[in-house]
């Protein structure tokens, strides 16, 4: 036996080496597994590897706030991942940095697990003649309503218009100490994305936009109208005190705790609301409109790194995740709608929250502007600061809109 050990060891080494040489290793950088069932994503990887024994996938999971930084800095030192979890607002700056691989030649291949036309279209629209990312899932921005507080204030159904929102939010705020009509998260703390969580969904229901093509267009009448509405809500006492120090996370927590009447946020938060406070009488509805039924579309996207050394293998994995069956399962786990709309027919979900999301998705106009917005992430800080100043009474909505526009244009010039 002793004489055979070296031979056995040599054989094992050779087998390992040959296996290592045969399998291509790719990395998937994302935050999805950090926010949800991590084991599910590992199971997906195992399934893919079983179907593709020549490819191994390494799951790199980071908090959402770190992924954007990691994509940029990892690439700079040559250790970037192959498949990237992406957020649509990052598109413009990533294209400027040449981080993303155009997907068109892969989409034209035979044998893909999905059809481009059957996907949620917001992320796949061409920029510079190319498609850069695909939708893993999709969730509309919606309004979460605390029906208990609503009924205590004397109302039976959630608001459908801005005027109703103001009336109901003010009434809820008058219910007692610590109760507020609606929260507005305009804290400067990172990611200081309050404006895109609350202001933009309202703006789109007024038929407004903040972009003109690829150029910021923040000082326009609909923006001023929406800012005026926010200021009006604030002056009326409908907005929870401390908007300038309130983050999106605190906003959500306050709603879950039953201290806020309404919350405008991604509909995917419904899962957290229901699971964390099952006693909350809760309803998901579309964002109250001024004159347009529109919603801000959001979701988790997938892309391929431009400097990936294994793009074909990366595409196989992306194609696997976008296939009808896998995408459908992903949708259920993430409590969101599938990026591959073909999977909708297979998802047997009569949950009122899912039904409400689907109703918004199928009937309302979807809007996504931040893909084209230059310096999108930095622009949120500017919007946050100017809205803080407006809510403090230091400037008018017109001045706030003008200041954001000026600062945003200056930021792009740098």
């Amino acid at each position: 036996m002793k004489r055979n050990i070296p031979a056995i060891a040599a054989t094992m080494l050779l087998a390992f080496a040959s296996h290592s040489n045969a399998a291509t290793n790719i990395e998937w950088l994302q935050w999805f597994a950090a926010e949800q069932n991590a084991e599910f994503y590992e199971t997906l990887v195992d399934e893919f590897e079983a179907q593709n024994p020549d490819i191994t996938v390494k799951l790199i999971t980071q908090p959402f706030g770190k992924v954007r930084e990691s994509i940029v800095t990892n690439r700079a030192i040559g250790v970037g991942s192959d498949v990237l979890g992406l957020n649509m607002p990052w598109t413009s700056e990533f294209l400027e940095l040449k981080i993303l691989e155009p997907l068109d030649k892969y989409l034209e291949q035979d044998g893909n697990g999905f059809e481009l036309e059957k996907l949620v279209q917001a992320p796949v629209g061409k920029i510079d003649g190319n498609t850069w990312m695909l939708p893993l899932n999709a969730f509309p921005f919606a309004m979460h309503a605390n029906m208990t507080l609503l009924k205590q204030a004397g109302f039976d159904t959630p608001p459908t218009t801005w005027a109703e929102l103001k009336t109901m939010a003010v009434a809820i705020s008058e219910l007692g100490e610590g109760i507020s009509g609606i929260g507005m998260p305009f804290s400067s703390q990172p990611p200081s994305n309050g404006p895109i969580l609350t202001f933009l969904p309202l703006l789109y229901t007024a038929g407004g936009r903040i972009m003109d093509g690829t150029t910021p267009n923040f000082d326009n009448p609909q923006v001023v109208e929406t800012l005026t509405f926010l200021q009006d809500l604030n002056v009326s006492g409908a907005i929870a005190p401390g908007a300038a120090s309130r983050t999106g996370g605190v906003d959500l927590e306050e709603f879950i705790a039953g201290r806020t009447g309404f919350l405008i946020s991604p509909s995917v938060h419904a899962a957290a609301i229901v699971s964390r406070n099952s006693e909350l009488e809760y309803q998901l509805v579309r964002v109250p409109t001024l004159n347009t039924k529109a919603y801000r579309v959001h979701g988790w996207e997938l892309g391929i790194a431009a400097d990936s050394k294994h793009k074909e293998e990366a595409w196989k994995f992306v194609s696997f995740l976008m296939s009808k069956e896998v995408n459908g399962r992903l949708s259920v786990v993430s409590s969101a709608l599938p990026g591959n709309l073909e999977a909708l027919s297979d998802i047997n979900n009569s949950d009122p929250i899912f039904v409400a999301q689907r109703e918004i998705l199928e009937n309302d106009e979807s809007v996504e502007e931040l893909r084209l917005a230059p310096k999108a992430v930095a622009s949120w800080s500017l919007m946050t600061e100017e809205i803080q100043s407006m809510l403090a009474g230091d400037q008018s909505p017109e001045e706030a809109a003008g200041r954001v526009q000026l600062r945003w244009l200056n930021l792009i010039k740098k």
């Binding site: 990172p190 300038a244 930095a378 403090a392």
Partner: protein, 297 residues
């Protein structure tokens, strides 16, 4: 000759043992330092594979940027205010816990008073955000005793945010001063206080004419160390206010982070970082000068 080398080798043995650690530490310190300075002399580092050498252009642009001066002023206010708070509270508490009371009570108080020091910045930020929330316990208490009528947005009001940060920083930083001062108090001979008692000195006389002169080198040393650490402080500010509202609490460290990881302006961020380094170096030299003078005395 062989004996000479053998003697040298024998005497150098401790240094050989230190060498691996020194090498790793030196590499970990010097390489990032070199790279930051290098980045500050280029444009579009990190984001471009071939950045452009611009020399001192980033520095001249920084010196004409009002947001830099605003952050510099905020840093000065935050640093000086925090250090004064640490010293006043730390020294006061050190005197209190040095009192001649039951040993177990003294140990209990010393243990409790040191607690803020053991919490990480994340925990401290979260605790104080909850307490300073408009519906938090601070506003509740102030309203209960009639100091305020409506809840104050301690971290969201431009007029209050910096004061709130100073309060949080003071709460977190006083234990270091307290412990340093407390250990220094043990070295003061009791005879000096006895002599002062004979001369009719009260508490403040003894503090000012006995305690402070005896501990002046300690005070100076820990104040300088505290100054250096607080000047570069990042997590507490970023996690409580993010530099807001409206950049009223933006300090140099948060400005550096924002430029680098929000705006992806790594060259400009490196330039700000180098200025932080230079200013910190001045404080460090002062500290080393003080320590050398103490050692010589």
């Amino acid at each position: 000759m062989h004996n000479v080398f053998a003697r040298i080798f024998r005497n150098a043995t401790p240094y050989w043992f230190l060498l691996p650690g020194l090498f790793i530490l030196g590499t970990l310190l010097s390489v990032p330092l070199y790279k930051v300075v290098e980045y500050s002399l280029y444009n579009n580092v990190i984001i471009e594979s071939a950045p452009t050498f611009v020399g001192l252009q980033n520095y001249t642009e920084l010196l004409s940027d009002s947001s830099y001066y605003s952050a510099l002023l905020n840093t000065a206010i935050f640093t000086v205010g925090s250090v004064i708070g640490h010293l006043v509270i730390g020294i006061s508490l050190a005197l209190l816990v040095n009192a001649d009371i039951h040993p177990k009570a003294r140990t209990l108080f010393r243990s409790l008073l040191i607690l803020p020091w053991i919490f990480t910045a994340v925990v401290v930020a979260l605790i104080w955000q909850l307490m300073l929330n408009p519906f938090g316990v601070v506003n509740y208490a102030l309203k209960a005793i009639g100091v305020v009528q409506n809840p104050l947005d301690w971290l969201g009001d431009p007029g209050l945010a910096m004061w709130s940060l100073l309060l949080i920083s003071t709460w977190r930083g006083y234990p270091f001063i307290m412990v340093s001062f407390l250990s220094g108090l043990q070295t003061i001979p009791d005879e000096l206080y006895e002599a002062a008692d004979i001369d009719g000195a009260n508490f403040f006389h003894k503090f000012w004419h006995v305690t402070v002169p005896q501990l002046k080198p300690v005070i100076y040393g820990v104040a300088l160390l505290d100054l250096i650490w607080t000047f570069q402080l990042f997590p507490l500010v970023w996690l409580t206010t993010g530099g807001g509202p409206g950049r009223t609490t933006e300090v140099l460290s948060t400005l550096t982070y924002r430029l680098a990881f929000v705006d992806f302006q790594f060259s400009k961020a490196s330039t700000v970082a180098v200025t932080i380094l230079l200013i910190s170096a001045v404080f460090t030299l002062l500290y080393l000068f003080n320590e050398t003078r103490r050692a010589n005395n």
